[in-house]
Structures are given as C-alpha cells and as structure tokens.
Amino acid sequence: MQPMHPIHSFGRIQNILDYALSGLRRKLLKNGTVFAVFALVVFLFASFQLTNRALGELAGRILAAAPDITVQQLQAGRQVGIASDSRQVLQAIFGVRRVDERIWGYYFEPTSGANYTVVGLAASAIPASTSKENSWPGPEAAAIAGGDGSSGRVLLSPGVRRHMGLGERQFFSLYRPDLSLVTFEAVADFPPESDLVTADTILMSLADARDLFAIPAGEVTDLLVTVGNPREIDTIAGKIRELLPGVRVVTRNQILKSYEVVFGWRSGLGNLLLLTALVTFTILAWDKATGLSAEDLREMAILKVLGWQTADLILLRLFESVLVAGGAFAGGYLLAWCHLLYADGLLFRPIFLGWSVLRPTFPLVPSLAGTDLLAVLAISVFPYLCATAVPAWRAAVVPADSVL
C-alpha cells in the first residue's frame, strides 16, 4: 500500500490563496462592482470616523487650555466688559482657587485680511516657567511679563509672524481704535506643537491689551475661575450666578456640550453608521444572489472530484471574500484619509461646515489609530464575511457527482 499523500498545510493555504486570486482576476467585472461599492461604504464610514477623531483631538486640546469657569458680563444679551472688582466677589467663594482677568478680542488687519486673536493676561495669570506641559499659555509666556504695567512685549504664533511679513524682525505696530500706533516687541514664538490652539494668537500683558483695544480701566472681557476640585465646578458656577446677576457663566463642561451641539457628530455619525451597515448588507444580499453561477458550481464539483476537500473549497471561497473585503477596506480607508488630509474633506464640506464655525482656518489632521481601524473593520468587513459564510458553504458542498 502506498503511503498517504502528505499535506503541506502552509503550501496548501498558499496554493488556495493563489487560486482565489486568479479567480478574482478573471471575474474582475463582477468583483470590481462589489469592490467599488464596498470601498465607497468604507470610505464614507472612515471619513466620518476620521473626522470625528480629528475633531475629538482638537476639542481635547482646546479644552485643556480652557479655564474651569469663564465669567462674562452681558448687557442687552450681548457681551460687554466686566468690572475687575467682581474678582473679589468670586475670590470669596469657598472652593475657588484662583481668579484671573483676561482681555480677549480680535484684531482685524485689513492689509492681509487676517483676523488675529489677541489675548491679554494679567501678570499673575501668566504661569511660571515650571508650568505643566499641557496648560496654555506655555512656559514661554513668562517672557512677556513686565510687572503690572505695560511691557510692550508679546508672544506670537509662527503663523501670525508669517502673515505680518515680520521675517526675523522683532518690532511691529498695531492700530488703536483711534488709529494711533502701538509698537510691540515680539520676544518669542509659540512652540510649533501648540499651533493647534495658538495658530492665530498674539499674547500680551493685560495692560498692553487694554491699551490696544482702549478698554477703560477697571474692566476686562472675562474673568477666569480656577476651581480646586473638578466635581465642585457646577456648584460654584451656580453660586456665581447668584452672586453676580447679569453675568454669563460658562463651565468647561458646557463648552464641551456646546461643541457637541455644534458638531452634532454623535447622532450624525450614528445615523451614518446605521446607513453604512444597511448599505453593506444590501451589497451582500446582491452578492449572495449573484454569487453562484452554473459555471462556478461546475468548477467546484470538478475540483471536488479531483480531490479537493469541502474544507479546501470553503477556504477558497473565504479567501475570495477576504480579498475583496480586505482590498475594499484598505482602499476605502486610505481614500478617506487622503481625502481628509490633502483635500481637506472637500466632498463633505457642506456637511462638515458646522465644524468650521469655531476655527475656519483649522486644518483637520486625521491620525491613524489601530483601534479606529479595528472598529471600521469590525463594522464593515466582519458583517460581510458573516454573510458570505453561507454562500461559501453552499458552493463548497456541491455534490461531486453533479458533474458526471
């Protein structure tokens, strides 16, 4: 008796994969359609998901810089300056660690058409050089401090420097509202990694900002409250509302919530996901219905008579599905990523417009995260494979004698 033919399991897998590939090449048209629609589905889903991530990272960074509570004065429903004296009232609330004054405004430069964000902080609010990494402004801000008075020293973002055409020069001038000039010395730039938050910012001392915007003494645009215990924030915000009627009290949490309202990404994404799943399954249904031609069945039966096991044939069909789904997944995801990175989400601009309200110039930088890939994979490829399991099996168990 002859010895049993040995089976080289790795070679077997390789051969069957090869065979599946050549089969796919042949049925290019049919598989091409499935491939394209599938890739489109992945593209849609991945676009939203990548934007979501980019946005989440953006919100996280902006929020890291946001104070626990911001207090602003309202008059006739519009924001006006708030009296610096209110500081004492806030400071007296138990649980408040610190209250800082801030002047925050926009400076429009007609020549370049740019809108700079001017932030003026009191010396006490500017962190010492040992400040922790994530806080804003960073340790460089110490350079602008000049006692309590005006120092004329400012901190710029590299973007503003470029816009103003400063080059290596240090001195530049801005107009007061009465069109008289104020001269500033740019002592340092923000580090590039803080660009997300500081892209259009000029940071100066409180007195300089007051001078630039001609804000009367004893007034600032907002008061920033730092709270010791994060869980106390809402309680303290409530107390502030009681103590200072007519002010707007914004907590960090509310900013987060308002971001979410503006973006609406949760429900939008959710709906889109469901739609995606639906579309995926539509393709599947179609694929399933058209998957098995008489020719395919004959080929399967021939292979079976020639000694292919049911398991081999199942593997063959599985590889076909995996190749189509995997290729479409990679293609769709890459397309979404490039679309967002290089074309700035061109196709979805109308849908995503809400996001640009806060920072129109902001580039969305999608990061490639393994977990995101897995999530998209789980929602697009796995359902496809599950649904193709039954047709794969049906093709594989075709009776061998049907070809006789």
Binding site: Q49, L273, A375, A378, F382, A389, V397, P399
Partner: protein, 343 residues
C-alpha cells in the same frame, strides 16, 4: 450611549455572533433529530454537509468572539473618557452592573467555542464521526452562552450614561484604600498572591512536562483524572493570573503604586504589553486545558491516535507558552526591582 460609534461596533459584532450561532443551532437541532451514521439517504447527505456549515459558523464565531473581546476592552477604554469619574476602562466597566459579567461571558464563550472546535477536529479525524452527536448537544449549550453574552453587552451599552458617576481602578483595587467596602481584592496580600502565582505556574509546568513525556497510557480512569485535574489547574491559573496582573504586576508597568488597572496595559503608553501578556496567557491556558478534551474522547472508535496526537501537540504548545507568559509578566517588576527604577 447606543449611538456612540464603539457601541454600534459592539452591537454589530454581537449581532454577527448571534447570527452565526443561530445558523449553527438550526443544524444542531436537525442533526440531533435525524443523524444516521452510515446511511446515504438524501437527508443524511444533507446533514453531513450541514455539519460543515455549523463548524464553519462556529469557527467564524470564535474569531468574532476573540475580536469582540478586544473590542469590548477598547470600547470601555473609550467610554472612560466620556463617563464622569472613570479614568480608565475599569471605571467604564463598573458604570453599571452588566459590564463585568459581559466581559467574563465573552471569555467563557471564547474558551467554550475553542473546546468545541477541538472536539470538531477530533470528530472529523475518525471515519466513524463518533463525536457528532455530543458535539451538537454541546452546541445547544454554546448558543445560550453567546445569547447571554450578546444580551449582557446590549444591556451594558443601553444602561451606560455619561451622567452616571462611576469609580476608578485606584479606588477599587487599592490595598487598604476605599473605606466604602468596595475594594474588590483587599484581603489578598501581594506576597501571598505572588507565591501562589509562581507556585501554581511552576507546578503546572512540571505536571505538563510529566504528562507530555509519559508514553501513551491505556484508557483508564487514573490518567483521565490527571488530565482533567491539569485542565482545572490551567483554568485556575488563568483566573489567578488575571488577579495577579491587576493587583501586583500592573502598578510596576505603570510605575505608579496606586494605578491598578488590568486594561490600561493594552494602551500604547505602555508599549501594548497587554497584548502579548494576555494572548500568551490565553494560549497557555486554552491549550493546556483543551488537552483534557482530547483525553476524554480518546476511548471512542478511531480517536485513540488523533486524540493522543492532539493532546501531545496541545501540551507542547502550552509548555512553550507558559514560560513565555511568566517571563512577560515578570519583566516589569523584575526590571523595577533589579534596576531600582522604572524603565
């Protein structure tokens, strides 16, 4: 939280598992009612074909189960950023009473479907298909397991709300901390845990080596009991390892004495060490305990050879993975103790 992308991903995979198991369940019922080995009736041929489908679906289910286990961990990590008070996945899992059961149910499903596939492979290796009936009875047990798992996952997601304040791992696993009696693992001291951990690990290695080296035994109660005891030891070691990793080993990885979290190990900040750690543990314990599945079946017609071969291969694999796991697990603490500081 149902509209969170991660929740949708989890629900889709849960739905997939249900679909797969539901499909195989249909086959199981038909096989148990009509199976006639040796017949060539149209129905029997159809049933034989259907067993392939059932096995294929369970194989897919196993992969899905493994992936969804990791998805659940990643999702919980993601939820922890949304939930108040949760700083890592532990907090997210404890946000409602369904999280931890869902996690354990997934692991149970993973082991069970793995054993099922071992039995299936053995069944196919005998001309008599001696395990077919038993296999499909077992499938009837696997199906509710997956259903409960999917239900728990859905319940967990449904009851997850950003407004609920949850706790964090530092509170839960800190020795002597948390006065509210919510400390899960307080009674166990580190030296005791560690000696149990390494003791049991060493014992399992020695016993595994003995079982591996021993020549084929005639089917008998004694050798069967030894295999089953070894399998139980492996499962015990699995549970113990999870506790030890959480309470003793993880703080060394984080270099923070009060950060005791079994989930953050998977994060990139710690070099994804959790993946090799948990995968090697899973491999060790699954392979070691699945040897008992083969041992139980070896008296069946045509299975003596295949069962022996499988058992040997499984033991060998387990014997390779066990030291690997111990090495990965001991790496951070050992480095900390020897070098006197973090990496």
């Amino acid at each position: 939280m149902l509209l969170n992308p991660w929740a949708i991903v989890l629900l889709v995979t849960a739905g997939g598992s249900l679909f797969l198991v539901g499909g195989s369940l249909r086959t199981a019922v038909r096989v148990l009612r009509h199976w006639q080995p040796g017949s060539d009736s149209a129905r029997q041929i159809d049933l034989e074909n259907q067993t392939w489908l059932a096995a294929l679906l369970v194989e897919y289910g196993l992969i899905l189960q493994l992936v969804s286990l990791f998805l659940l961990l990643l999702a919980a990590d993601n939820f922890s950023r949304v939930l108040v008070g949760a700083m890592c996945a532990t907090g997210a899992f404890l946000a409602n009473p369904y999280g931890i059961p869902a996690l354990f149910m997934k692991m149970a499903g993973l082991f069970f479907s793995g054993y099922w596939l071992v039995a299936h492979r053995l069944d196919l290796s005998s001309e008599h298909l001696p395990l077919t009936r038993a296999k499909f009875v077992a499938l009837l047990l696997l199906a509710p397991l997956v259903a409960v798992d999917s239900g728990l996952t859905a319940a967990y997601l449904l009851n997850l709300s950003p407004e609920i304040i949850t706790s964090c791992c530092g509170v839960l696993f800190a020795p002597g901390g948390a006065a509210d009696g919510y400390n899960l693992l307080e009674p166990m001291a580190a030296p005791l845990l560690l000696s149990l951990f390494y003791g049991l690990g060493g014992l399992l290695f020695a016993v595994g080596l003995f079982l591996f080296r021993r020549p084929p035994q005639p089917p008998g109660r004694g050798s069967l009991l030894a295999d089953i005891a070894f399998a139980c030891g492996q499962l015990l070691f699995f549970s113990l390892s999870l506790v030890v990793i959480t309470v003793v080993i993880s703080p060394y990885v984080y270099a923070m004495p009060n950060h005791r979290c079994p989930f953050d190990l998977l994060a990139g900040e710690y070099g994804h060490i959790g993946y090799p750690l948990y995968l090697s543990l899973l491999a060790t314990c699954f392979a070691g305990s699945s040897a008992a599945v083969a041992a139980v079946c070896r008296h069946l017609p045509g299975l003596a050879g295949p069962a022996f071969r499988y058992r040997r291969a499984a033991l060998r694999f387990s014997l390779v993975m066990l030291p690997l796991f111990l090495l990965i697990a001991s790496w951070s603490p050992a480095f900390y103790l020897l070098a006197g500081g973090e990496r």
